[in-house]
């Protein structure tokens, strides 16, 4: 962990620690996904690659404030930063993209469909909104067993997923049951090519919260500090038993929908607006400005990330994929039903 080069000032407060830690995860995520995109363009990844460029601050600042082993975190597609912050080993990500038989899903599912539910990070399915009710269930079960305590469960989605029935049913159910659920909505302005004015009619996406009888927090998703503070508030309210919290982060998707898409539908105007700022650059500038890290320390963070990413990917690349002939083609866990 980097120590500040700022020796003349007060000991670094809690915020700066969280900021720098979170920044580290953001850099790791960006470095990893840039590398994966390159590998994809070289034709070495089968299937889709979807990255969270521009959303790292919003994603990581939720997870870096959750406690693995206590809380539940359900990441979605553009949450590489959040996964890293929550504690997902980078090798899991590398293995899943590269189809290693040693990855968490043994090649049975790929790219972002990975997780570790026994450590509180359930594995997503592709249907948007579907994971929220799973988080509900995990919280519900803990409460039934009187093991919930102050744990919270967070589910991540984007603006598009708020149109699904699954989202509606799950949020409504969580509200009725007053579960400590946090839904983080990365409003990146587009669901593939569909802009938000075709997705919902509310003035602001966060207005939906009122309809469900839950609290809503609207933040600038490009600003790391604002994200950290916003989530801190949501988490503490949830822990305090105030029921579900919706946190909407307003930002811009800085990549295509997938690496196969060059998003021609995003206007230059939008790209050059405030919404289009890169949270990573912004965060670095702020960190240096606040003297929470020096330029060199920031570069070190980048270097460290690069080494970690390269190591993980080299490792995963060297591993074999699953062998269909010796694979366990069995969909049941019950011994009496397994062939």
């Amino acid at each position: 962990m980097a120590k500040s080069a700022n020796q003349n000032q007060e000991p670094i407060g809690k915020l700066s620690t969280i900021v720098v830690d979170t920044y580290r995860w953001m850099v790791l995520a960006r470095t990893f996904e840039d590398r994966i995109s390159n590998i994809y363009r070289a034709g070495k990844i089968v299937g889709g690659v979807y990255v969270g460029k521009g959303q790292e601050a919003f994603s990581a600042s939720l997870a870096s404030q959750l406690v693995k082993g206590q809380d539940i975190y359900s990441p979605l597609i553009r949450d590489m930063a959040g996964r890293a912050a929550f504690g997902e080993p980078l090798i899991d990500a590398a293995r899943t993209y590269l189809g290693s038989a040693q990855g968490p899903t043994i090649g049975r599912d790929g790219n972002v469909h990975r997780g570790n539910s026994q450590e509180g990070m359930p594995t997503m399915i592709s249907h948007l909104g579907a994971m929220i009710s799973v988080v509900n269930g995990m919280l519900f079960a803990r409460r039934l067993r009187k093991k919930l305590n102050t744990a919270v469960g967070a589910a991540c989605i984007g603006d598009g997923a708020t149109s699904t029935g699954a989202f509606h049913e799950a949020l409504n159910m969580a509200a009725v049951e007053k579960l400590p659920l946090i839904i983080s909505i990365a409003n990146n302005q587009f669901a593939y090519s569909t802009p938000t004015d075709k997705q919902f009619a509310c003035n602001e996406l966060v207005d939906r919260a009122a309809g469900y009888g839950v609290n809503g927090i609207n933040i600038n998703g490009t600003d790391l500090i604002e994200c950290i503070e916003g989530f801190e508030k949501a988490i503490s309210l949830a822990r305090a038993g105030k029921g579900p919290q919706i946190v909407v982060g307003n930002l811009l998707r800085l990549s295509g929908h997938g690496e196969h898409d060059d998003s021609p539908y995003v206007s230059d105007e939008l790209r050059s607006s405030d919404l289009g700022q890169d949270c990573l650059l912004k965060a670095k500038d702020r960190i240096i400005e606040e003297s929470w890290c020096t330029e060199k320390e920031c570069n070190d963070i980048q270097e460290q990330a690069t080494i970690e990413v390269n190591t993980a990917i080299a490792q995963a690349e060297s591993e074999k994929g699953p062998n269909p002939y010796s694979h366990d083609w069995n969909a049941y866990s019950s011994p009496s039903f397994r062939k």
Partner: protein, 321 residues
């Protein structure tokens, strides 16, 4: 003492709640009200924290069950009618049924579907959904036809570590009664030969078992002995028992109340044709409902589904071949 099919289901749930603190029941109106069919009557009073009313959200209900299963619980989801489970279809087939295969974490949930037609219930309160769920890998689908099986198979369903779709037949709820609950039981995945015979084998499940038995009784007067096999569990199918029966009789009629395209009867015919071709004296036959949505008017409804007399007609054709 007389116990109905519905009461047997209630008894099984009561026992499960009693014996395992991880079991809970979640569904619309299951709590104080005791459920639309009273399948959970008085259970809320005994276990108020574990018999819980849900909003009308079949998708979120099943998702919640999956989340609870991940945490080690054994949820029972009561769908008010099988027909409404289609709203939760995605969570059942894509979340629950794939969980173990994708993540090596078991999904021990039980989804109870009040299925099948009763007079006047119409197209959306009468469906048999076993086919759709059986199609997806990772599910176990049970279709008990007797009071005893409703009891023992539900207990087994709850104990199984994989998602079980438990298709209870609404018509049998109050119409079928037995003297007592079973002490010894057949494992859920075994089929049972309910009636032995020589001239033809009927393979069927759920309420159609009783139509088949009536038809078999009628044909006895003409000297025909019909063997009747109750599949009990339609995924997986106990082909061993089915083929063993056909080895004795040489003729098979598969009967299902479900729609004719695909489904259990098609599965039986195709497996018998490929695995038991040389056992056959006549082409394998099947009987399902008519290929239309289920009608409301009782006269139409009675015509739409297989009955003892349409079963008998098919059997006579089969035997004459």
């Amino acid at each position: 003492m007389s116990i109905s099919y519905l009461e047997a289901i209630r008894e099984a749930q009561s026992l499960a709640l009693e014996n395992d603190k991880n079991v809970f029941i979640y569904g619309q109106d299951v709590g104080a009200f005791g459920g639309a069919f009273k399948a959970t009557k008085d259970l809320f009073q005994k276990h108020p924290d574990r018999v819980i009313d849900s909003p009308i959200s079949e998708d979120a209900m099943v998702g919640l069950a999956v989340g609870a299963a991940i945490e080690g619980m054994r949820p029972i989801i009561e769908m008010q009618f099988a027909d409404f489970s289609s709203v939760g279809f995605n969570q059942i087939v894509n979340q629950a049924a794939t969980l173990y295969w994708r993540t090596a974490v078991s999904c021990p949930i039980t989804i109870r579907l009040p299925s099948g037609g009763t007079p006047g219930s119409g197209p959306f309160h009468s469906q048999c959904m076993e086919t759709i769920y059986a199609h997806y890998p990772g599910t176990i689908v049970m279709t008990p036809a007797t009071v005893e099986d409703a009891y023992s198979m539900l207990l087994e369903a709850i104990a199984i570590d994989d998602p079980v779709i438990f298709c209870e037949h609404k018509y049998l709820y109050y119409h079928l009664k037995s003297d007592s609950l079973p002490k010894q039981t057949l494992p859920a995945k075994s089929a049972r030969i309910v009636r032995s015979g020589r001239h033809a084998t009927v393979v069927t499940y759920s309420a159609m078992l009783h139509e088949a038995l009536r038809a078999a009784d009628n044909m006895k007067t003409d000297g025909y002995e019909i063997e009747v096999v109750d599949l009990r569990c339609i995924k997986p199918i106990d082909m061993g028992t089915v083929l063993g029966s056909i080895a004795r009789t040489g003729r098979v009629l598969a009967i299902g109340e479900a729609f004719p395209w695909g489904g259990v009867t098609s599965e039986i015919i195709s497996r018998v044709s490929s695995e038991g071709f040389n056992l056959l004296d006549a082409p394998p036959a099947r009987l399902n409902s008519i290929d239309t949505p289920i009608p409301y008017h009782p006269d139409l409804w009675r015509y739409h589904r297989p009955t003892a007399s349409s079963v008998e007609e098919e059997l006579r054709k089969l035997i004459r071949e």
